[in-house]
Symmetry: C2
């Protein structure tokens, strides 16, 4: 349901258009598609690329750490780690227990820099028409929305 947006047809009313929730969804899908396009030349998808950035910012983390921090199942990010490792971007050194500390190889650092620039290009592209003084505020509001949406119960006042 609902992949990208784009101003469709007139004469058809869009009851979802006035809802913040669905504008969020639409914007998110569009931004992800743009990011995927930006990353295509590097042979990475958004998940792999963000994993690379995350490891670059937290050298020595394990898959479990990543799973907790990014709220992803370790089983799901295992293929991503495997792909990055096979591409020669990661070093894996044994830690305590079965844990494996992940860090960037020299090659990985180069790739990470390219990924970082691709993310920056994407950010510039999508915030082109967002007033600079509103950007931080918007990020903060999105964070709040996130927390409120995740709160289990319905809506207790505050």
């Amino acid at each position: 349901m609902m992949t990208p947006p784009e101003p469709p047809d007139l004469s058809i009313s869009d009851p979802l258009g006035a809802m913040l929730g669905f504008q969020l969804r639409r914007a998110s899908v569009a931004v992800m598609m743009a990011l995927a396009e930006e990353l295509a030349t590097l042979g990475l998808n958004p998940g792999e690329a963000s994993l690379l950035l995350f490891i670059g910012a937290n050298e020595g983390v394990t898959q479990s750490d990543i799973g907790r921090a990014m709220r992803a199942q370790p089983a799901n990010l295992q293929p991503l780690v495997h792909k990055l490792w096979q591409a020669g971007a990661l070093d894996r050194v044994a830690g305590k227990g079965r844990a494996i500390a992940l860090s960037l190889s020299d090659e990985g650092r180069v790739l990470c820099e390219k990924v970082s620039r691709a993310f920056a290009r994407n950010e510039a592209r999508i915030t082109r028409r967002v007033p600079a003084e509103r950007r931080a505020e918007m990020i903060e509001l999105l964070r709040l929305i996130c927390m409120d949406a995740c709160r289990p119960g319905g809506r207790e006042t505050e």
Copy 2:
């Protein structure tokens, strides 16, 4: 990759947290999960529910109309239409060609009202901490982000 958010652990840096693109993604996923939870008692998922709202606001549309307006492939929303029809919520009357005009049955109107209230509850829940005077602005900014992200080329100036 990345299902819900929630403040994870400290001592781990989150390079994605400062990016509007990923906050959008996280907020969107969280909001969708909250909406799905809100709709669960009605036996509908967000796609089916929004389809019902859309038909309610545009009685007589065909699947092709919906596909164009919502940017979904007709092949993908066929199962949704079928489910709503089987649930007795839709009337289907033959139109021109193979077209079938969709509208709400009496039962569908009742269900649509419940769906509408569920959407409203969800909106209230996620905008609890969004200042009222910022809401419209935020929707407009999201619309702009959407359009800019969808623009095919990279970033021509403006």
